[in-house]
Amino acid sequence: MKTLSLKRRHFLAGSAATIGLGMVGLPTAWAEGKTLKIRNYADIQNLDPAFNTAQADAVITDSLLLGLVRMKTGTEWGWEKEAAAEIEQVDPTHVRFKLKSGLKWSNGYGALTAEDVKYSFERVANPKVESPYIDDWATLDHVEVHDELSGTIVLKEPFAPLWTTTLQGWAGKIVCKAAMEKLPDQKFTTTMPAVSGPYMIKEWVPKQRLTLVRNPDYSGGETAYYDQIEVYPIEDEKAAEIAFESRDLDFTDISLSSLKTYKDKGLQDAKITEHPALSYVWFGQNQENPALKDPKVREAIQKAIDVNTVLDAAYFGGATRATGIIAPGLVGHREANLTKFDPDAAREELKAAGAEGLKVKLSFLNKAEWVAAAQVIQANLADVGVDVTLEPLDSGTFWTIGDEKSGNGWKDLQLLLGRFSMNPDPAWATAWFTCKQVGVWDWERFCSKDFDEMHEAALRELDPAKRGEMYVKMQDIMEKSGSYLFLTHEATAAIYRNTVAPALKPDGTAVLWRFGAAA
């Protein structure tokens, strides 16, 4: 910040040779440089790991609290020990752990103990606490404390996502029992009562900046490189890109539409990273809507859409086609789609089904990429004689259109563009398409008994190969229903200064405290 304002002062004094100053800017930024300036896509709202509202919260919580294990950075999904010195699955329902000794809470709350672990996990699993992440601990019975540092997690039933998501994720973060019990309701939002991670919050200026500084009491081994991390909440991606280019940021996610421009233009003192993301984007059809009740009609529509062009329009070549809802690299990823783009067949099938001149409505979130994608779909379908009206919706409306409890919108819903983000376990992809979810999050109103049975069985199956087979079959069932056309898993792209060595999870999520300096 200082270097920048210095430069500005020069400008204001009217004496600046700006080009020269621009060149001096870099080394000074580095020398001062134990400060990292990074963008978060939203401001923090709730740092309590049991109530994180979004990734924007979780990315901060991640540097403040420890879990027994943590997700590895790099390109392969996997975990490594964090607060645990030892951790092992004794049998399908028991996990024994021993904490590292010497881990401390800030604010004089003493050592991090197995009691804290018990408190944290059971808190999320307790229905009365109403944590949205209760399903992460769906089969938790209790945590047994053996002594100050060791204990056993006892499950009622085997739970496959335990290692892939629960323990490494938000629900696996350990909070300070003593500090929490002092709070009204045992909840906090933006002021964390005690931290154990490498950083702590120095200052929060809402909507402007969150400053993290080293936690002096941290003793978890690997230390952080930066003395201070300044997190700027910037919602608009364009604004973030401009902030980066004008050197107000050292690292920021960028939109996929800008990715190509940056690549073409070339960057002088910055680099780009690209990661395949986990989220899944699909084109859905409400199979209970009278216009789309006939599976033949839905299948014809599936065939009429040129997915590659849709993706090209929306992401400018930054995202590749998906083969299902489970991203590559995860158990259960499918090799290929069953349907192919074939407008001629689509036209004939529509004719055979007596659905010529069909008129339908496509609902989507009013963001640039969806607007572009929707217009291509509209053109594709016009090609086979289906007349599509576009209905862009604001996020508030969009996220409730298929919800039965929020009114009658679900009855009029016909076509939609959906996107869910996801954790690195296939169970979190299929969970929203069971019969129980019809009218809750399953807006296509797709319901299959086989699918539901396999979803339940796969949760208990600990052999990855057998699990994988089940998920592949489940995606086949989804696609064969005609209601789904899988579009993409998107991708995460980020841009950063040459001086920075970013630490990212395989899906491109930043792990702030592990950011370092480039060699």
């Binding site: 910040m1 700006t18 709202q45 399903d135 402007q208 909440p233 107000d248 409306t397």
Partner: protein, 314 residues
Amino acid sequence: MWLYALQRFGMALLVCVLSVTVLFCIAYVIPGDPTAIALGPRATPAMREALRIRMGLGEPIYIQLYHFFSSLLRGDLGVDVWSNRPVIDIVKETLPKTMILAVTGLGWAAALGIPLGCYSAIRRNKLDDRIIGIFSIAMISTPSFLTAIYALLVFAVTLNWLPAIGAGEPGNFGDQVVHLILPAFAIGFAWVGYLSRLVRATMLEVLNETHIRFSRAFGLPEWKITLKYALKIAVLPTITLLGMAYGGLLSSAVFAEIIFNRPGVGQSALAAVNTRNYPVMMGLTLSTIFVFTMCTLIADLLVAALDPKIRKGL
């Protein structure tokens, strides 16, 4: 005069109450369930029901309205649904930033637009008047978000003279001023043109009034007439317009606030609507409506005090 002021003040308060009631009804009828957005896909229906009850969404609208106004009288605007922060704090953080932005934006626009208008009026239909006219109209027709993005690309990215985002370090006055330049430039841009056209038009009218023509007959130089007599009168409608413009900018500053990532009322209110964070939305909108009515009120009273014709009429 005082009675008039008091009457107008009462009226302004009524306006606020009416607008807020309308806003409240709107919030009540628009689709979108705040609990679904807040809790995300992981929420069970039971959890959403619990949150809905906590937010008081289940009750009939008149009860909700009653609660809202009665806590408003106690100075309580409720709490942010997701972070539990008092809404009044959010208003205190955002409103001053937007107000300063609006003052500076209109300030430079007036400082440039009014003299341009005067000059145009004096040089009526000459070449320079025509050129100023065309530039003014070009400025009027440029949406503020375009000015903003071009200003950013030129001054922040290419030249790197000015910071691109944020409102500056809290407490560091110089830094805040530097962060104000581009957004203020962007929102004032169109107003330069608007004000210059308005001042030109009113000036032309005034310059034809009898007493001015008398002065001219006495051989006073044109510039002296313009500055000494005409401007005084021509500035009155400008004050009215500025009052309304200032109030209006509180909501139209939203574009500059989004593009420059300035935490202000517009940006925050928009985000609140999109997440159906009703307490924040109500609090922020109420505060802008209040400031708007007060601005127009002050402008009206100022004009009444300055204009002998109106003053007599009261």
